[in-house]
């Protein structure tokens, strides 16, 4: 079996264990609940964050995260080892989130894409209240602009921030790496337009 390892980065966990995820998934395919629970606790925060950015609804994001990890439990045996375990799981999460978006749109047509998650800003970086306010305003504008990207662009931007390569992202969202690059390039253009327009309107 090919050893597929993943080093957990700082924000995911304080540990720096290297885990053989292929072996772990093999155990899960044999209904090993302990292996599944270890994987569950490791992946839940990352998948939740990823789908929350796409869906902008904590309740729906929790449902999609749960469905994704349940699919890992029921179909671990179908994993063919063509990609890393992480890429495979995020691929399931992406498809489940898209399905949720389509089904939500079917039920609530013509709601604007603002979503219902509140934009909270982390301003722990500076103690000066004036600087804090300025950083908070800018950060809020940046988050609002990111939220206005389309789901596919948001997914790519988020996966980049999570540290995935263009090839891995291509496997997750099921398109060639060049399309991933193009998608990010357009996302960048859109962010530029939104942020420049936003500040122009604010300064008027």
């Amino acid at each position: 079996m090919v050893a597929d390892t993943m080093e957990l980065s700082g924000w995911q966990s304080s540990t720096t264990n290297v885990i053989d995820e292929h072996a772990e998934l093999h155990l899960i395919s044999n209904q090993n609940q302990a292996a599944f629970e270890a994987l569950y606790l490791r992946y839940h925060p990352r998948i939740f964050r990823f789908v929350l950015r796409m869906l902008q609804s904590p309740d729906l994001a929790e449902e999609v995260t749960s469905d994704t990890l349940h699919a890992v439990w029921t179909s671990a045996g179908s994993f063919q080892g063509k990609s890393s375990v992480s890429t495979w799981i995020f691929g399931i999460a992406y498809r489940t989130a898209l399905k949720a978006i389509r089904s939500r749109k079917r039920h609530t047509r013509f709601t604007d894409g603002a979503g219902d998650s509140e934009i909270l800003v982390d301003t722990h970086v500076d103690n000066d209240p004036a600087v804090k306010t300025e950083i908070a305003a800018e950060t809020k504008a940046v988050y609002a602009a990111i939220d206005k990207l389309n789901p596919a662009q948001k997914a790519v931007a988020e996966l980049i921030a999570l540290g995935y390569s263009s090839i891995e992202i291509g496997r997750i969202v099921d398109c060639p790496a060049n399309t991933v690059k193009t998608r990010m390039f357009h996302a960048r253009k859109k962010l530029h337009k939104l942020l420049v327009a936003d500040t122009a309107t604010t300064s008027e």
Binding site: H44, P45, S117, D122, V142, G163, T179, K181, T182, L191
Partner: protein, 246 residues
Amino acid sequence: MSLISMIKRIPMRNSHDELISSLPWLVNGSLSPEKSAKLQNHIDQCETCQLEVEALTKLQTLQNRRAETVSDAQASLQRMRLRINESEKNPVAAAPLPWWTWPLNIVRQLTGDGVRLPSLPTHSATAAAVLLLATLLILQSDQMIDRSTSDYSVLSSGSATQTGIDLYVRFHPSLTAQEVDQLLADSSMGNEILFTWSQLDSGEYKLSVTESLEGSSTSLTDLSEWVEELKSRTEVLDVGLLPNQP
């Protein structure tokens, strides 16, 4: 310098778009050392790319630092344990058999397993299926829309550009004409692709791309992105390219 001031200083169009499209992966550290070194050589001499890298670093930091609702993984795991136990107690019934197997199964049930059913030789059945498919295709070709190209996959076939693109879009029948008009008007304004549209039939529209970021030609990837966005906003039943008019 703030992120927005940086973004304002970065020109949107420049001669190193190809290099710029790789920068997000340089910043997230997933590029190979060779590619990183090659890019770094360029960045050291290019002010625009330095600014771009600085802005991307700040953007990715902001994304990773975003303070938002955090889900309780332990509580979620507890619910998952219950879900798994529940599904083990009440396994989901097997999916119903496809409709084309019903007649055979009815005959099997009536005659019992012991009776051997006459079966067509495989090659005869294949020939009959091909004949039926060909007939259906001939009948379809009379329609105005070229169904052989009315396939969404055509749109996501790469970064090629094309001029004079006409799209066929069929919306869910529950959408009124006014709702579709409103939706298309919003999409046209909010996106980088401009188009005009006309109604072909109830729920069916012809969209003609008039302008895009590339000017008169349109990138098929851009178009597929736009369609993806439209699909995420409402129920699109069918979409495809219309054959070019002479």
